[in-house]
């Protein structure tokens, strides 16, 4: 059976990724990272989603929640430091404050180490087109260069076809919501809010993005939000990226 290492955050995209991999015939080792994010509540959601799928006898071999105590050295992000999480539309310039320096290269490099140790064919991650404007490490250019890098780094070790798989990298989040819904993703076991409170705030960049994705996809959003008012009216630049 083909084996995949799935990097899952606890959000909608990685939940859909997990279903996509399982439906594509992979057995999966899920990895999540505790890198000092203030919304580490997402890790509990990742865990609950994995447990939910395992109860359904889906082939998830393990779920590693890996500590990366590096936030203090990568200072300057609203996700880890004592800086207010910006509100409003995800693509706005203020969202640059949510960038964690080199985050995807770090997490995917650790996931690649796991893939080599487990002889997995694929390292999978759920970045999508809506991430492109702000996060350079979510763009196709990064994914291509990362793939070449890990091939060189591990020549002679691990699976000979080992590669990074990013099935949604050219999709909008609304398309992910739509596709996830068709696969029956248990959205109640996903978390998006960067503020990491009791319930989703409904106002921060990723809450706005989540609400908008469900709405555009015409999918019923089961989430309780603190603020359920109007969404900002800026265009969804993710679609144009």
């Amino acid at each position: 059976m083909k084996k995949a290492i799935a990097v899952i955050s606890g959000g909608m995209d990685s939940a859909t990724l997990l279903y996509h991999l399982l439906n594509s015939g992979y057995e999966v080792i899920a990895v999540s990272f505790n890198y000092g994010q203030r919304h580490k509540v997402e890790l509990g959601y990742a865990r609950r989603l994995v447990d939910h799928l395992k109860k359904d006898n889906r082939p998830i071999l393990a779920h590693h929640i890996i500590d990366l105590p590096i936030a203090q050295y990568l200072h300057g992000s609203a996700l880890t430091d004592d800086i207010d999480v910006p509100e409003g539309h995800y693509a706005a310039d203020s969202m640059k404050q949510t960038v964690v320096a080199n985050r995807n290269a770090i997490m995917l490099s650790v996931a690649t180490g796991v893939a080599v140790a487990e002889n997995a064919e694929v390292i999978a991650a759920g970045m999508h087109a809506g991430d492109h404007p702000i996060y350079s490490d979510c763009r196709p250019e990064f994914a291509a260069r990362f793939n070449e890098m890990i091939r060189a780094a591990n020549e002679g070790y691990g699976h000979p076809d080992m590669r990074l798989l990013t099935p949604f990298i050219n999709n909008t989040k609304a398309e992910i919501a739509e596709g996830g819904n068709e696969m029956g993703v248990a959205w109640e076991y996903t978390w998006s809010c960067y503020k990491g409170g009791e319930i989703h705030c409904g106002k921060c960049g990723t809450c706005v993005e989540r609400r908008e994705a469900f709405s555009l996809a015409g999918v019923v959003d089961p989430t309780s939000y603190e603020y359920e008012g109007e969404l900002p009216t800026e265009p969804n630049v993710g679609e144009a990226a």
Copy 2:
């Protein structure tokens, strides 16, 4: 002043790297990694070398020893697991047991995150030609691909000329010993032995490599070894790599 992030292990190569960067006009942030290696004694040597240089008023801004508690997920290396460290010549096939899956990509990705946060121009690492036969993540091909990857990953963030610098990647370790000696590297504050005992064992791959490098360079080796007998007679494949 130009700023460099130097990845230092506590060994000869990274000690020489540190002097090289300081002599080249960089101010340096040193980073070392505790990834569960059994020879973590090397980290104390890295610390002592940094302290020694700081007493000389060399511009080392900080030395971060970063915990990466990931060894349990990258199982299978004699450096982290309960497997005997192989003895004999470094280039021998048995040394493959000392490979830690994707280690350099992981450590250099974290160092790159620090570089972005600190707006450093350079991430520097001390890999050399003698590492090439066994460690694919020490080869020029890896360094080139890594450079392209971090450029894509951090477009718009950090220093616009940020890059990986590997000044010794085509040198033998003997050449590093020779160059380091000319710069007055304090070899007594370096550690090589993979076994991580009280003193260097003198027999494991990296002890053999260390002894050989000093000997070929005609440099007095100040190290105390448990075993000080004959070196293995296999060719130094590092020179041919």
